[in-house]
């Protein structure tokens, strides 16, 4: 087996264990079910008791381009891809040409020799896709099912797991379609099993399944927003955020959320601000370009003190950039978005689990601080599937409490704490009353006997427009105070992985890049090098006084980011004065992988 390692003492996790991992990859022409097949494989691996991390490559086209889907399978938690592909399924010649550089002589290559001649020294598995299709009278797109069946035979997977998923997939279409599709899976499986006995392995032999979930960052945001009782999600489709829109739209009959696909991103955010003003937890989702259109309204949320959660799945820009690829290029844009000065919170989850934690937290923070909260994802986190322990999620859901801050809620809508009842004397409610923590009470709009306005102009405590110097200062100071309150009450320091004191190298990073660095640390440890990672997911605002002590003089710090300008490095310097001179930056639209980091150190 290609990448089987015996690591006797793994200090990193403090566990003694036997590592087993391999990479399965399928490629073919866009429109031939590559994405679906890849996800089916990830689910089979998960249901068989393994951890997975997958990654898709696809151009911004519907038909004709090249698609590839890679799954890293292991019996330990995986957070990245590995360089060698152990089993490559070529649905066309281009797949081999594009990905052969990741093969070695032990790699299996599944292909149809009637389609192309395979040169080179590999474990070649010729499966007659075309012949099987013709015999079973299948359509071209079913080739992927044959190939998936064949690959399962080689790696010792259970055909029953695939047959079960086919049943689930085609449940609505009836028994006839189900059994028709199953025939192709079985044909591929049986062909490989009987013709390539010498190659059969037990890589995917079923273990005790732990009840793991297979989720992307977008799935996790969607689920997190439901857990947080978000009632309105508004969006305009934009890769790589669009699957949040479709997932939440598909769920709305069940969840009762209203999902609006508005005419443009300006309408998107203003719809959400309207519903938030009326008392519904509201969120929007987009990528950089769509967010750019929302920016004026972020500022509106800032001055009107309207809670809003904004999900941004970054992709490489500028402008249309590379829509289906990944980059951490919009951090400073998000941090600085909006004219004028107002508080804003930017959170950047490092993985699917953190996405659930931070999304649910974001809705609470938006309500507590009555200001925009941004969740920064990127294509890598948004579209890659990861294993997530179901038990962890179940426990998290039980632990999570909705906190709507200083919302005064006299209607029956009261999910958890609601707000306390206040004695209000004037009908004209003091929506922007000066307080010590900068946060004013927010009366549920529509409460009988009162009224107030959310004013985009500078305003008095009662919301009416003002241009008086004294009142202006009061309101600016009040809004600014919310940042101080946040830093005291809710800001969380970066998590450190590894021992900072003993580390020779300390990586500094934020967001989705976490997985690659964790794996880099393992690789370095195998070479006897101790390292640590300081990983920020509460990316803005930053608490200087708490952060400075984490950065010890004389240590070798390396900033690792998926952008060309080291944006977090700049932000850290701006906010804390800490300058990290050594940088590893990757900005070709691909994630930075561990071997690349190791090579560049």
């Amino acid at each position: 087996m290609a990448d089987k390692k015996f690591v006797f003492l793994n200090f990193f996790y403090g566990l003694y264990r036997l590592n087993m991992n391999f990479t399965w990859k399928i490629g073919g022409e866009a429109g031939f079910g590559i994405m679906t097949t890849g996800l089916v494989f990830s689910k089979i691996a998960s249901r068989s008791g393994f951890h997975i991390f997958d990654y898709v490559e696809y151009p911004s086209l519907i038909r004709g381009g090249h698609n590839a889907y890679e799954v890293h399978v292991a019996d330990f938690e995986v957070t990245h891809l590995k360089p060698i592909v152990d089993i490559l399924i070529c649905l066309n010649k281009e797949t081999f040409e594009k990905h052969s550089s990741n093969l070695n002589k032990d790699s299996f290559v599944i292909y149809d020799k009637k389609e192309f001649k395979l040169e080179g020294d590999y474990k070649k598995i010729d499966v007659p896709f075309k012949k099987i299709l013709a015999e079973l009278k299948g359509q071209g797109v079913m080739k992927n099912t044959i190939a998936l069946g064949a690959s399962l035979a080689i790696i010792g997977g259970e055909i029953n797991e695939l047959l079960k998923i086919i049943t689930e997939q085609f449940e609505k279409k009836g028994e006839e379609i189900i059994s028709f599709n199953k025939k192709f899976a079985e044909a591929g499986f049986n062909y490989a099993k009987s013709n390539y006995k010498k190659f059969l392995t037990n890589w995917l032999t079923k273990k005790n399944p732990k009840g793991s979930l297979v989720m992307t960052g977008n799935d996790a945001f969607s689920l997190g927003s439901i857990i947080a009782d978000c009632r309105l999600y508004c969006a305009y489709p934009m890769t790589p955020s669009s699957s949040v829109l479709s997932t939440l739209a598909a769920w709305q009959d069940k969840t009762g959320m209203v999902v609006r696909h508005a005419e443009d991103e300006i309408s998107v955010i203003n719809t959400a601000l309207g519903s938030s003003f009326a008392g519904a937890r509201s969120a929007v989702g987009t990528s950089g370009g769509g967010f750019a259109l929302m920016v004026e309204s972020i500022s509106l949320a800032g001055i009107t003190e309207t809670p809003i959660v904004i999900f941004i799945a970054q992709r490489p820009g500028p402008a249309t950039g590379m829509p289906t690829w990944t980059e951490q290029g919009d951090l400073l844009f998000a941090v600085h978005a909006g004219h004028g000065e107002f508080p804003k919170i930017v959170l950047a989850p490092g993985d699917v689990k953190e996405m659930i934690e931070l999304t649910t937290k974001a809705f609470n923070l938006a309500d507590i601080y009555q200001t925009p909260v941004i969740i920064l994802s990127d294509m890598l986190l948004s579209e890659s599937h990861r294993s997530l322990e179901k038990k962890w999620l179940d426990d998290f859901v039980k632990r999570y409490e909705i906190d709507r801050g200083k919302l005064i809620n006299n209607s029956k809508f009261n999910p958890a704490k609601g707000g306390t009842k206040l004695q209000i004397k004037s009908q004209n409610f003091l929506r922007y009353k000066i307080t010590n923590d900068g946060i004013s009470h927010r009366l549920m709009a529509g409460t009988p006997g009162y009224f107030y306005q959310a004013n985009s102009y500078e305003h008095l405590e009662d919301g009416h427009t003002t241009e008086e110097s004294k009142e202006r200062l009061k309101q600016v100071n009040k809004r600014n105070k919310k940042t101080i309150t946040y830093l005291t009450k809710h800001f969380q320091l970066p998590k450190t992985y590894g021992d900072i004191n003993q580390a020779e190298i300390i990586f500094v990073a934020w967001g989705s890049i976490k997985g690659s660095i964790l794996e880099t640390q393992k690789r370095l440890l195998e070479k006897g090098k101790k390292s640590a990672l300081i990983h920020f997911n509460h990316t803005y605002p930053l608490d200087k006084d708490k952060i400075i002590p984490l950065f010890k003089n004389g240590k070798r710090h390396i900033l690792v980011e998926n952008n060309s300008q080291g944006q977090f490095g700049k932000l850290l310097q701006q906010e804390t004065g800490i300058e990290i001179k050594e940088k590893i930056l990757n900005y070709d639209g691909r994630p930075i992988w561990p071997e690349e980091i190791v090579r560049k150190i």
Partner: protein
């Protein structure tokens, strides 16, 4: 029962003689007439002289961004669809900056009332041309006269699916009250285009200009006839301005078609907690 003064906020800052005074009084009278009070009205104001009514009218209100009042109003309506939601906007605001939102709000038959102060000029920025100004209109931004032909908001509303299209004249407060009442009572998207003189910056479309060119639709006018309405709304090309309800039909509103809020308004529903039924998809 509420009174006019319940709705009265700070004293208006509009120019003496401005049509906005009449619109403000008509709006408050209509709200009182409908038995509403400041706690049962949601108002969204655009930016411009019209939007400055935010400080003069008591209600649960958003003083929005320029052009963006309509999506705010749609959001309020979705969250709490049993309340009355009114957007008070200007012509530059609604037909220029926010034109896209206007079209799509018509399409969605969102149950909001949009009252547009149409004075063909930007008053708050002291006299630049608005999208409803006639071709050749000279202004601070178009000293040689505007090249573009005017937008036809009534025709746009009609063709994009609005179910209530009306026009009134700021010089006739009693008709404004009646029409605004009808617009608020209408279930679905309602547009009230108010022809309004700007006494400071528009020297052409003044009270005399409109008085000569407006006329009331006859009592027997068939307001549910789309073709007839189309004929009426293009009369503006001949500088004729019909006043009254030009078009009205009953169709399901946007929120009528959301099954998830059939039984309860969105903000009053119980929290959804059956997470395991969603999580199944990820196994």
């Amino acid at each position: 029962m509420s009174l006019i003064q319940d709705f009265t906020g700070y004293p208006p800052t509009w120019c003496p003689g401005c049509g906005n005074h009449g619109i403000g009084i008509a709006l408050k009278s209509a709200l009182v007439g409908l038995g509403l009070n400041p706690s049962t009205v949601f108002a969204v104001f655009g930016i411009g002289c019209s939007g400055n009514m935010n400080d003069f009218l008591n209600a649960y209100a958003i003083h929005a961004l320029h052009g963006r009042a309509i999506p705010n109003a749609i959001g309020i309506k979705i969250a709490n669809h049993q309340t009355k939601v009114i957007a008070i906007v200007g012509d530059g605001d609604c037909y220029g900056e926010g034109g896209n939102h206007f079209l799509h709000a018509c399409r969605g038959n969102h149950d909001i009332t949009v009252v547009v102060h149409d004075n063909s000029v930007y008053g708050l920025t002291t006299g630049q041309v608005a999208p409803t100004a006639r071709k050749g209109y000279k202004s601070k931004s178009t000293p040689a006269g505007i090249i573009e032909v005017p937008i036809n908001p009534l025709a746009l509303a009609l063709t994009q699916g609005a179910t209530f299209v009306a026009q009134v004249f700021a010089g006739n407060v009693s008709q404004m009250i009646e029409i605004i009442k009808l617009a608020i009572q209408h279930r679905g998207f309602s547009l009230v285009n108010v022809l309004q003189p700007c006494v400071s910056f528009n020297k052409i479309n003044n009270y005399q200009y409109y008085q000569k060119r407006v006329y009331f639709l006859a009592n027997e006018y068939q307001k549910n006839n789309f073709e007839l309405a189309m004929k009426k709304v293009v009369e503006v090309n001949k500088e004729k301005f019909p006043l009254g309800v030009i078009y009205q039909v009953e169709k399901p509103t946007f929120t009528d078609q959301l099954p998830q809020i059939k039984k309860e308004v969105l903000i009053e529903k119980d929290r959804f907690t059956d997470f395991s039924s969603l999580v199944k998809e990820f196994t």
